[in-house]
């Protein structure tokens, strides 16, 4: 099963919401749509689901043109961020509803519903109404409805965003096995880079209605194509600064210097946008090659096993993320250490020029 979109665009009131986009999404792994709120993830899903009409371009399923096909005939499933269930029906009827509409035999419906309910641990609740369930159970009901139907494509639009932390972790762990071996194209939209990494598969990075990069999740995390992709796929936000390359050295803020090697050494002299992930800026010197940067600590956060510190130096506001508990004095200068080998250098056009 494959879902292909060719140069599709979407306009609302004369404004372009989705710029020309082409993708080939395949079954067998997660296709994660990653982007901030408003990046166009939901718009793209609606276009693929047929809930909105494309302004131009083509949508193909297994090579067949389905651009003009109605949502009902596309045989797809969709799970929203909000728990959407049919309030007046029992959980059983909710899960069975797409099957009933498709005209399936009663005996087969019962079998399918029970199978889906077992996978999502809804068996004890089949006779209840959705509003008698907890948020997590309601969303599981929506997921069960999506998998009970043997659809060509399953679209999950931030399905875990409205759940509390524990439930989110629990469901996220179940998701990959839930869809494994179903033969459906699974498209999962999220605004959390961490979620994309946890789910694996392939990731589509989106920004401002445009796909900035598409590829194997680990691959595009390691090799951002341009600075926008690097920004989208980083949480906390990636640290950036303008650096000047001169000979075998780069200079940051006039005083901070480090030597280049590898690819970066071959760059032409001039200004580059440099980016480094927060977890490559450490509060302690870990090796001789690291470069010290002294900044004013502004905000610190301690999240379980990780400590983060927001600090500023020159015009830059950077974040350092490190394992373990580190104590920072707010308002005090402190030295952080960046690893030059983990730097990305982007040219004036925003494209990746070299890695450190």
């Amino acid at each position: 099963m494959a879902f292909e979109i060719k140069n599709i665009t979407k306009k609302v009131d004369g404004q372009t919401h989705i710029k020309p986009t082409s993708l080939i999404l395949e079954a067998g792994h997660f296709n994660v749509l990653l982007g901030e709120t408003g990046a166009g993830k939901t718009s793209l899903i609606k276009l693929m689901a047929g809930l909105d009409r494309v302004a131009s371009g083509q949508i193909l399923m297994n090579g067949q043109d389905i651009t003009r096909l109605s949502t009902q005939k596309r045989n797809i499933s969709l799970v929203h961020q909000f728990f959407v269930n049919y309030a007046h029906m029992t959980v059983f009827d909710n899960i069975a509803s797409p099957l009933k509409v498709a005209g399936m035999a009663k005996s087969e419906i019962a079998g399918r519903v029970e199978e889906a309910a077992d996978i999502l641990q809804l068996r004890p609740f089949l006779a209840r109404r959705p509003h008698e369930l907890s948020g997590g159970q309601q969303q599981r009901c929506a997921l069960a409805r999506a998998i009970a139907k043997e659809s060509n494509a399953i679209f999950l639009d931030e399905p875990l965003a409205n759940l509390d932390y524990k439930l989110r972790e629990e469901l996220r762990e179940q998701l990959p096995e839930l869809f494994a071996g179903r033969g459906a194209v699974v498209v999962y939209a999220t605004s959390e880079p961490e979620e994309a990494l946890l789910l694996g598969g392939k990731t589509v990075l989106m920004n401002d209605g445009r796909v900035t990069q598409f590829g194997t999740t680990a691959e595009i995390y390691r090799n951002p194509l341009d600075i926008t992709s690097a920004k989208v796929f980083s949480d906390p936000p990636i640290n950036t600064a303008t650096v000047t390359k001169k000979g075998a050295e780069v200079v940051l803020n006039g005083t901070i210097k480090w030597a280049l090697d590898g690819d970066a050494a071959n760059l032409r002299d001039g200004d580059y946008a440099m980016a480094i992930r927060p977890n490559d800026v450490a509060p302690l010197r870990t090796s001789q090659s690291t470069v010290g940067v002294t900044g004013q600590v502004q905000v610190t956060e301690l999240s379980g096993s990780e400590s983060s510190a927001h600090f500023s130096f020159g015009a830059q506001k950077w974040v350092s993320l490190a394992h373990g508990v580190h104590i920072y004095d707010i308002g005090q200068p402190r030295e952080f250490f960046l690893d030059p080998s983990k730097c990305f250098y982007f040219g004036a056009d925003g494209m990746l020029a070299a890695r450190g």
């Binding site: 609606k46 689901a49 809930l51 109605s70 949502t71 009902q72 045989n75 797809i76 499933s77 969709l78 929203h80 909000f82 959407v84 049919y86 309030a87 007046h88 509803s97 797409p98 509409v101 498709a102 929506a142 409805r145 139907k149």
Partner: protein
């Protein structure tokens, strides 16, 4: 008794007093009513009710009223449902203006429309028919129904529609088997308000009818006879007009609270 109950008790007392007086009067003879002040019927009589239930000119008044009110409620709600859905789900040219214009129909007094309706109905043969009165009342009730239903429908996320389409529901099937059950309390509240407005509206109902579709309220104004007003009879007829409204309220009481919470009632 605690202090905070005093106001509530006084409120209910004053609210119920006229209703009690009406019911009490309906069991009195006209002589006793005119004779002087009495808290309870001194001479308990069912004669007033007997007159109403045996005289066709009386009880047909009730049938006529119930008939055109029900007809009006059915017409108003079924016409308003698709309109409210369009206002709630789609953006089109002039949608907000049209929505407001609908509401302005409720701002004009019924008397303004009485003469044109009379003239028009006489010309097309709708005069003195139940359908005629029901249609005239739709002028007020359709905007109201659209207004209330739109509020309820906008409270239902658009994602529900989308989920249903994805599940394979066609629009008509989605609307009848998913959407309507979801907003059923809204439909109940709307039907109640249409019923109430049509039930108490007198001017149009009286102007547009003569014999065949004459409402009970119009018949009540005819109790003035050569012997003066038959007050006992009038009170009994009044008591009976309260009952249908009370029954309808009983069925939609929980939904009305929901309607108030939605801010559209």
């Amino acid at each position: 008794m605690k202090k905070r109950y005093i106001i509530t008790t006084a409120y209910i007392f004053f609210l119920m007093l006229p209703i009690y007086w009406l019911v009490s009067m309906s069991f009195k003879t006209t002589g006793e009513i005119l004779g002087g002040f009495s808290l309870f019927p001194q001479e308990f009589t069912l004669e007033n009710y007997r007159t109403i239930f045996t005289d066709p000119t009386w009880y047909w008044g009730y049938f006529n009223s119930i008939f055109y009110v029900t007809l009006n409620t059915v017409i108003s709600v079924s016409v308003a449902l698709p309109a409210a859905y369009a206002f709630s789900r789609y953006r089109f040219l002039g949608d907000k203006q049209l929505f407001f214009w609908l509401l302005t129909n409720r701002m004009a007094p019924a008397a303004v429309f009485a003469l044109p309706f009379f003239q028009l109905y006489s010309a097309v043969g709708l005069f003195d028919t139940h359908l005629g009165v029901a249609l005239a009342h739709a002028l007020f009730n359709v905007p109201l129904a659209v207004w209330i239903l739109e509020g309820f429908m906008s409270g239902v996320p658009k994602e529900l529609d989308e989920t249903a389409y994805v599940d394979g529901y066609s629009f008509p099937r989605f609307f009848t088997t998913i959407f309507l059950p979801t907003i059923k309390s809204g439909v109940g509240v709307t039907a109640f308000f249409c019923f109430m407005f049509s039930w108490v509206e007198l001017l149009l109902a009286k102007t547009l009818t003569a014999v065949d579709a004459k409402p009970i309220a119009a018949i009540m104004t005819k109790t003035a006879s050569s012997a003066g007003y038959e007050l006992g009879l009038l009170a009994a007829a009044g008591t009976l007009t309260i009952i249908p409204g009370a029954i309808v309220i009983y069925f939609v009481r929980n939904n009305i609270a929901k309607g108030f919470a939605m801010g559209r009632v």
